[in-house]
Symmetry: D2
Subunit: 470 residues, 4 copies
């Protein structure tokens, strides 16, 4: 089992090579990727053989200002946004992670999770390595410098041979090279873009390319190492398995709706999930509504297919995210109302269908359903635009133990009762794959969180039996 | 003419009488009214003959914490959120405004704008009054204490006799009374609610009652003064004109969609505006979309009536509101993209109808339309859910000179070209009135911003001729 | 009796006329006067008929930065540092106090205390004035505008005729005049200086003139109003009593040692107090030491006259003033040690004479004496460089009730025992007057805190009998 | 040569074993040692096999509050205050430095400087170590874990065998041991104290023991490793050279005056330096004065021996340390006056002797002397209570290159003229040694900064010829 409390590697990475305002572009790239990690952010830049870095806890606009950007000179820079555990001392776990070795400096930004991290760490410690962080990123860099006698590329290849799991790295060296690395299964997104001036950008999602007005070139291949330097761009390819394992949850929830993944727009895919969900599980009702904002797109698709009215009958409060004083004891549904404002006159006495993108712990959904009932809603039906989450993710999404997953030990009927619903229906795995519009979707995705079929063996090296979901 | 640069009185007010956590309830009341004013906020509380106050620039959750709430003891409190000009020194213009006179203290929160403020101020100064602020609120209190020889109620009546314009006041005295006052035309909303414990709440909108779980009792009548004290509740009524003048822009844009005004839900009214707009001005297109969030509801109504697909094809960025580093010069559409993320694959090559709630200056709309064109949208049609804004507001909404109103001197065709649209259509005034579902709507609303027909003469006392819009 | 809890007016004021960096010079003037008030500060500047102001709670260097100084344009500015009660909401009690009246603006900075404030306030309120603060400053401005029909000068004279007590004002008007006003008794210091460019500066103490490199011209006379404008400088004089009442406590403790008052240097006077104290009360001992820093100068004088070694045997901690975590229960003398570091090897087994400038409440002295005893000091003798403080001050120093004064109801012997001393001796009033080197000192000073002989009747208008101290 | 810009290791360290409020005691220990490093501070605590840490840039009282102390549980803790280069990103160079290795955690606080750091770092990097900081501390920990196969103590001994230079370490392990280590030459102070409850404390100076009310036990011996654990206390001793090398500059300037070093009080020694300085170099004058605060004690000794009046004729400003707005161009001596207030009436026309503890760059002294001349001082003589600083320190004091030392290439006469003095005299090395009262002082101290005689060869391994100063 994974260590409990291990900081999860939900992250966004970005890098730009050869732009006079590299740090500023990286700032905007990170701003566009803010949804991938809201607890810390950092930028490292390269100028004349030296790396400069600034990182801190908080949101991108709160961490950087003009003075800080000015302190990150040079025309190449990388950055990261990150979700990790809270607390002042965890500033050590911010990224890009910067180390010095033999007069060279390396800065590394990482999105993913290594499943053999604890084994590698043990091996390294036995040969005298010491660690300052609990991040996989530190392991990668230890391995990299250990093998530098093989040359830089040789060491890179040796290093990726040893690490197992999900990783999309952006690496910056004090020789001014920017390197993008994607694991052989291709779990996490990482794409290449091109600036007006012909130089390259790396980004977790295409939405970051759009904001900095870089043209999308392509997704990195699984197992690709792309090296960008003054000498141009070239790629090395690791051996890859036949079955690809792109994280399907990126489509369902994680990616920004205006991003494209493998040529397919996320917004459109989410709408299609809603349409197929309606096809699979229609029920008569007065209206369809999302819990905003993550359920919006599938709900629009559901409403369209079912020809029921779409209503934004719970409105998101714009000031959520700030810290609040705890409510008075007399205020019952405060936890719901402070985030969502339900429109009583639209909801009262109605039969409603709520379209949700996914249910993880179920606690929020349960509370909201109760608040709707208290308001006088007549029937509450829920439709979820993916199959039930029954298995933890070991590749970088923050539901790492099955105990956190409300669907792990409950039947659909039990869940329906637990959540207080009149009916509950999940999108089938087949429906989900169909919605992606990707050809041969069975060979493309990691869907371990639904079927327990883990593409890369983790930890005690035993692959569980997979569920048959199709 | 009004002074240029005069702080506008867009505000929300709230008050609670007789609750052991009065300041905390007021905090939540203000939080629910945050959309009415985001530049400053304040709370004043009453305990044992003494008033306590705290006010500051910023958002409600940023201004108050548990310690500050604890420093506002007592079971009666009032508060205000406010939009005014920025700048550290303008802390003096925050509210509630607190003054001392003859061992008594008064705290006042105000939503509205007095049209004879400069005349009253001049008169007061001639008899020796000095002013610390530029707020109408200060004038009200000067007048109040001048006439206290008539008794407190006598003085209140004398004072409202002198002031002209739009005002919804909540007043707290060091005798522990809470008073709500609405001007005879009833420009601004102010409603009465009741707590579980039988005590009363005053609030600009019903959404604030909902959050603190107070039951809605009724809107204050135009010209009503409601006095709440240990002796109970009673009302005094000023003489009122036949024609009412409730601000119709509250329905169109200003109020929160989950609020009810005069028994009518704002969300539903906005949807109806969209439906009637579709009825009046339908054109064939591929999709209907809002500029989120203010256009959402009318767009849903429009799509429903026209049976066109509703798409959220520009997605609002959640981190807007924070300060940003200025973009690189190479980033062209940054101003749009930093706030809204357009979904290219949904928009490219399409004929789209954008439904907007209103167009004031037109600059934002113009930039957004251009960004959509740059993205490859084929046709851009705009439908606006109210008539053109041709006249400034003198009753508390922040478009105080006609120079700020793009429609003031342009025909619809000129506007269409200016905004870069393929077609442009506004909701008719009749359609707008119909959408409110209010009986005899012609006698109920101030619609001066559309027709220049000002219900209360301002300044140089000459009422302009009204436009015939019906 | 004075209102309890009334904010005390310990303050420093400063003004500069006709310098292109007026606000910046005022900043430095206030910085030099920081010892006169550490709780808030503010600056108001004049440019082209408009006044600009910034004020806040805190120390001068923490309140102002380059941007704020830049927001205070113009070549005339005034400022104030202030000691008052703490708390966020007391931002209203900061100065300069700015008011508007009849298109004119006035900014006023005040050092002192009006003894008839409550009577004047009552009178004003009866004619309709309202108050926002509890400061005397506001009363002055109300009176000023009430009488403007007499002309500005006429109104000034009428106003000072009505107010009683201690005041040194610096007033700035939106006509660009800077006015200094000192009460007829001359309680508080206020001096005139001249810049290189021939223009004038007003300051509470000469040390502020030194820092901005202005030449000292003279102290304002008691009862002088000096008006500085584009037309030059001129003075008006109010009628004054024969007996002057300069606060002798400024010499003893309050003023900065490098200031000169009435031509006499404060440092030298304090040394002389120590010398005369030694002459009056010498006792054999091993060393003389101060409680730093306020006792330093008298201690040097005492050591010099007595030919005993001067030792800095308790060393002041530089980081005092910052907030501390409360100490562990096991740490006994923490309260002393956190501020002063006693040198055990210098003190152990010794007979020591501590020279203090004054004893107000006695609590700090008592704790320190105990800490010295615990350290193994053999004999502790204390010599105080002024007579016992037996009476409260009503003219602007913060010991406003006799209950706060440990000497008010104790004999010297009782005090010695209370403080845990082997011997205690105060400087005689005659010795104190002699130390000032001022000719005819009996006619020059307010010494009411020693003898209860109040030069200006306060409140219930009954002058107490004075003690015979000479 | 040392790397230029290398962060200097001026520091204070502290540790407490076996006290329920270990982190709080450490906080106070660091507060007492604040003078040894004002740029960052940190605390690490041990509880049940886990280390907790918090560190940040800034002063101790600004970094820690009750919540942070509460987040550092356990009955053993260590801490450090540090002077290093500035800048946000240097948070990585704060201490205690915490690393993880083989399920164990180590926290290390360091005072000193390793002279073979760059060689060790190179060796370590060649075997694959990576570094995150530029601190010697990191090297120590790399070496420690490399040799853990020798057992913990074996590894400690192996590690100290390899490192050369000045070091006083406090180490905390996740087995709950606290270890103090002093280099064989004994450059930096580190002493042992005992709490009331019988448990032990380690501290750079005795003043920290005093504040937490621990009894002084003894200085650690040069080359001593003291291991404190649940099993009690025991020491290991490295081989040591005959000649000891305690830093004599600790006596002259660095240590707090209320500390004792090797049984001798620092305050008394500084007074004695002043007395011997007067004996060696007396000149007739009107007064003796220090530049406060560092020169105070030698000046008192000088005045006492020469029977000249001691005057505090330049008074230190209490608010120094805060950031200031840059002065107006017209303000000439601002740089002096903002820190020190000279008393003109005491100084004008006088012949004065300034006693300084040391002159490093000479720039401050030069400016101050000029300011005194401008004030009208007749003669300015300077007496310095140590010999001229001619050689850089490689053992942890921040004057690391001879270019920074004004005396390195100037004769006394040249210096006198450079500083604008009438006469200049330094204390002789013999006089300095005599003042320490230490028996056989020639064998006890490092005085390399005066005579270039470096006790431990640094870098290019060539010991320079020493100056003959005696």
């Amino acid at each position: 089992m994974l260590e409990s409390g291990k900081p999860r590697d939900e992250c966004g990475v970005f890098g730009v090579f050869g732009h006079p305002e590299a740090a500023k572009l990286t700032y905007f790239g990170l701003y566009a990727l803010q949804h991938r990690g809201q607890e810390s952010a950092g930028i490292a830049s390269y100028q004349d053989g030296t790396l400069h870095a600034h990182k801190a806890m908080g949101l991108v606009p709160d961490i950087f200002d003009d003075d800080i950007i000015a302190s990150l000179p040079g025309d190449t820079a990388i950055g990261q946004v990150r979700y990790s555990t809270t607390g002042g001392s965890n500033i050590v776990n911010t990224q890009p992670f910067v180390v010095r070795h033999n007069m060279r400096t390396y800065a590394l930004a990482h999105n993913g999770n290594l499943v053999n991290a604890h084994i590698l760490r043990k091996e390294l410690e036995e040969t005298g390595s010491i660690f300052q962080t609990t991040m996989d990123t530190e392991i990668f860099l230890h391995l990299l410098v250990k093998n530098l006698k093989l040359g830089f590329e040789g060491s890179l290849l040796k290093t990726v041979e040893k690490i197992k799991g999900a990783y999309s790295f952006v690496l910056l060296t004090s020789k001014g090279e920017m390197i993008g690395i994607k694991d052989p299964n291709g779990f996490r997104p990482l794409c290449l873009g091109k600036l007006d001036n012909g130089n390259y950008v790396l980004a977790s999602e295409t939405c970051a390319l759009d904001l900095v007005e870089a043209e999308f070139v392509r997704q990195l291949d699984p197992g690709e190492i792309v090296i960008i330097s003054k000498d141009g761009i070239r790629s090395i390819h690791m051996p890859v398995p036949e079955q690809k394992s792109f994280c399907i949850f990126e489509f369902i929830y994680f990616a920004r709706p205006d991003s494209n993944i493998y040529g397919h727009n996320v917004y459109s895919m989410r709408k299609r999930m809603g349409q197929i969900l309606a096809r699979e599980s229609h029920i008569d009702a007065d209206l369809v509504m999302p819990f905003p904002d993550s359920g919006n797109y599938a709900a629009i698709g559901y409403a369209e297919h079912s020809a029921l009215p779409f209503e934004m009958a719970m409105i998101r409060n714009h000031y959520v995210g700030r810290t609040f004083i705890q409510p008075s004891q007399t205020m019952r549904d405060f936890g719901v109302r402070v985030k969502l404002n339900p429109i009583k006159s639209v909801l009262e006495g109605k039969r409603i269908i709520i379209v949700e993108d996914s249910i993880i712990r179920g606690t929020t959904a349960k509370t909201r359903v109760k608040a709707l009932r208290d308001l006088g809603v007549k029937e509450v039906h829920m439709r979820v635009s993916c199959p039930p989450h029954k298995f933890p993710c070991h590749y970088g999404i923050d539901f790492s133990s099955s105990g956190e997953l409300v669907a792990s030990d409950k039947s659909i009927d039990e869940l329906r009762d637990y959540l207080g619903l009149d009916s509950l229906h999940y999108l089938s795995l087949q429906g989900l794959l169909e919605s992606t519009n990707v050809p041969e979707p069975e060979t493309m995705f990691c869907k371990a969180c639904f079927d327990g079929c883990y593409p890369v063996a983790f930890d005690d090296s035993v692959t569980k039996d997979c569920l048959e979901l199709m």
